[in-house]
């Protein structure tokens, strides 16, 4: 008598799957768990490097005395030695979270100030997240014999790069660039954090430019459409101490 061919049939509510299916189902289960582990390891271990941007919590609360420029976005002008640097230094400042410093900096524009907060660092770049006891106030003991140098005009340029928000790029978030970060960057810019242009290739040693409109005023909300894209922009470049300002007309923006 010919042996009857097995006819396995799975019924979910049955006590067990047919014996001839059990091995297959075990194999599929093992493949699933193994594939999940392999794919997770592959993706998780190959994430792009977000760089060394960070909050310098380890340095603790920092205070600086210098001058404040309110336009295009608030920045501190520090004398040599104030930040451990041998030359005058211009440092961007922000409020806590996604808030700019325009309200506090505006009335103090061009005046000596004390500023206190936590530093954000990305290589040589830095930003001060202002807050705490000192916050931003008229200087109690202004630095003697120091006046910020006037801006140095470096001519008209077309630069290629990506618009980010200055705070996340400097370390508030890792990664703080790219399209996945666009909504966050826009929220920062809406809140008053300076938009910055990070170029693909350096111009006079700098890849980091604070953006302004052609008149040196803050950019309009139109900038939000161009954030996180690879674009080219045309405008005048000026240098304040070691910080570049890129005064652009957004009509010149071209998506690459």
């Amino acid at each position: 008598m010919a042996k009857k061919k097995p006819d396995p049939f799975f019924i979910g509510w049955a006590k067990k799957p047919p014996k001839s299916l059990q091995g297959f189902l075990f194999l599929i289960s093992a493949i699933l768990v193994g594939a999940a582990a392999g794919v997770a390891f592959g993706i998780g271990s190959s994430v792009p490097d977000p760089g060394d941007a960070r909050f310098a919590w380890g340095a603790g609360y920092q205070t600086f005395t210098g001058y404040v420029d309110a336009k295009p976005y608030p920045l501190l002008r520090l004398p040599a030695g104030e930040d451990g640097r041998d030359k005058p230094h211009a440092m961007l400042i922000s409020g806590i979270g996604k808030r700019g410093m325009q309200q506090l900096a505006g009335p103090l524009d061009g005046q000596p100030v004390d500023a206190g907060g936590i530093l954000l660092k990305r290589g040589d770049l830095d930003m001060l997240q202002v807050g705490g006891k000192v916050s931003l106030r008229a200087a109690e003991n202004p630095v003697q014999n120091f006046t910020p140098a006037p801006a140095e005009h470096l001519g008209k340029w077309r630069l290629t790069g990506e618009i980010c928000d200055g705070k996340c790029y400097n370390g508030a978030m890792r990664p703080g660039v790219g399209l996945a970060h666009k909504a966050c960057a826009n929220l920062c810019i809406i809140g008053g954090i300076p938009p910055v242009f990070v170029t693909s290739t350096p111009l006079m040693g700098s890849e980091f430019f604070v953006l302004a409109d052609e008149n040196g005023e803050p950019l309009t909300a139109e900038v939000e459409d161009w954030v996180a894209l690879l674009i080219s922009l045309e405008g005048e470049v000026e240098r304040r101490d070691d910080l570049m300002i890129f005064k652009v007309n957004l009509d010149s923006a071209k998506q690459l």
């Binding site: 006819d7 049939f9 799975f10 019924i11 979910g12 509510w13 049955a14 006590k15 067990k16 799957p17 299916l21 297959f24 189902l25 599929i28 289960s29 699933l32 768990v33 999940a36 582990a37 794919v39 997770a40 390891f41 592959g42 993706i43 998780g44 271990s45 190959s46 994430v47 792009p48 490097d49 977000p50 760089g51 060394d52 941007a53 960070r54 806590i96 979270g97 996604k98 808030r99 978030m173 890792r174 990664p175 660039v177 790219g178 399209l179 996945a180 970060h181 666009k182 909504a183 966050c184 826009n186 929220l187 809406i190 809140g191 939000e224 459409d225 954030v227 996180a228 894209l229 998506q255």
Partner: protein, 355 residues
């Protein structure tokens, strides 16, 4: 099968199924979050919330890919049918994981701002006229909305309330959700936050889903385009040699592009019923006669051969069809009888029981 609604009718298979799903998810998240970072070549680690969001988001993507592969795999190889059985739990788990992804994103990227984090999703990027730079988060929101609707309506209460056809149509929304998720990933994470492995894995996943569906569709198309001879009256279709119908199993006859009949043999008796299960439109003709009833291969719903009714106390019923034997050939009347109509099985004298 149930005559009353309970949250989940647990059985051993569901426990094992869910255990495998949880082991898979656990392996994915555990290795992504805790093991893989030890092997990264980064100056400083990605922010914890962003990294967790990536872990949950990619997990959701691959679970959705797997969910969509189960259907065509089961069409191509019946050994995969058990994966269909508890697919709804897999869908609900996927939806829950999607909320973890969203929670991490909203709690980081959309936080720390004077603008409400939920509102911000809809207002901070309005570049709808761009391809790159398109507010891909909105695509994710719509996908999440669909997944939520599907998860909430996955219970049999909704299946009976909406009726199988509407419920099935609604749950085909999983394809729209997947398309939205693919676009969400392609326009977001793949543009900046993904390494080469992720780009490859996402591409391979989409290709796998598309390929399996095309193969399954080709198989179904070839079956549906098989021509069966009609008699002169146009109501009886030649259903072949009755001996070709395997015992306890069925031969499926395609009457039209969207109507199939399952001719079952139980020993010497032959009966014809609709191929469509009243529960979730499962292919009854791929089922088997168990305890004297046709048993659906998807969820085990059962029907009596002679009247297409589920045995009491169950109330499901399906259409029956008339059969006749002429000159050793089996003929099927293509006019469906109302669900639950009794039809005397025909007896084929040339077949021995159990052959």
């Amino acid at each position: 099968m149930s005559v009353k609604y309970v949250p989940v009718i647990w059985n051993r298979t569901k426990f094992v199924y869910d255990a495998v799903v949880l082991a898979t998810v656990g392996a994915y998240l555990g290795i992504y979050i805790y093991i893989a970072p030890m092997f990264q070549t980064v100056t400083r680690p990605i922010d914890w919330d962003i990294y967790k969001a990536q872990a949950f988001g990619t997990c959701v993507f691959f679970l959705l890919t797997f969910i969509l592969c189960i259907g065509p795999l089961a069409r191509l190889d019946k050994r995969f049918l058990p994966l269909l059985y508890n697919r709804r739990h897999l869908g609900v788990i996927t939806c829950v994981l999607a909320y973890f992804h969203v929670d991490n994103i909203l709690g980081w990227y959309n936080a720390f701002s004077p603008i409400n984090r939920y509102v911000s999703v809809f207002i901070v990027n309005t570049s709808f006229d761009r391809f790159l730079g398109f507010p891909f988060e909105i695509l994710g929101v719509f996908a999440l909305l669909i997944l939520t609707i599907l998860a909430v309506t996955s219970h049999d209460f909704w299946l009976h309330f909406l009726k199988p056809t509407l419920w099935k149509t609604l749950h085909m929304g999983i394809y729209l959700a997947y398309a939205l998720v693919v676009a969400h990933v392609a326009l977001g994470a793949l543009q900046s936050a993904a390494g080469p492995f992720m780009t490859t894995a996402v591409g391979a996943s989409v290709a796998l889903v598309a390929t399996l569906h095309l193969l399954a569709a080709r198989k179904e198309h070839l079956f549906d385009t098989q021509q069966n001879t009609m008699d002169d009256s146009g109501t009886w279709m030649d259903a072949g040699d009755p001996k070709d119908v395997p015992d306890k199993r069925a031969r499926i006859i395609s009457i039209t592009d969207d109507e199939r009949v399952a001719i079952f043999r139980n020993g010497k008796k032959l009966s014809a019923i609709s191929n469509v299960c009243a529960h979730q439109n499962g292919p009854l003709g791929e089922g088997k006669i168990v305890y004297g009833c046709v048993t659906c291969p998807w969820h085990g719903y059962q029907y009596r051969l002679e009247d297409g009714k589920s045995p009491p106390p169950f109330t499901e019923k399906i259409s029956t069809y008339r059969l006749k034997l002429e000159n050793g050939r089996l003929w099927l009347n293509v006019e469906a009888l109302p669900p639950g109509t009794y039809v005397e099985p025909i007896v084929s004298p040339i077949m021995a029981e159990g052959s």
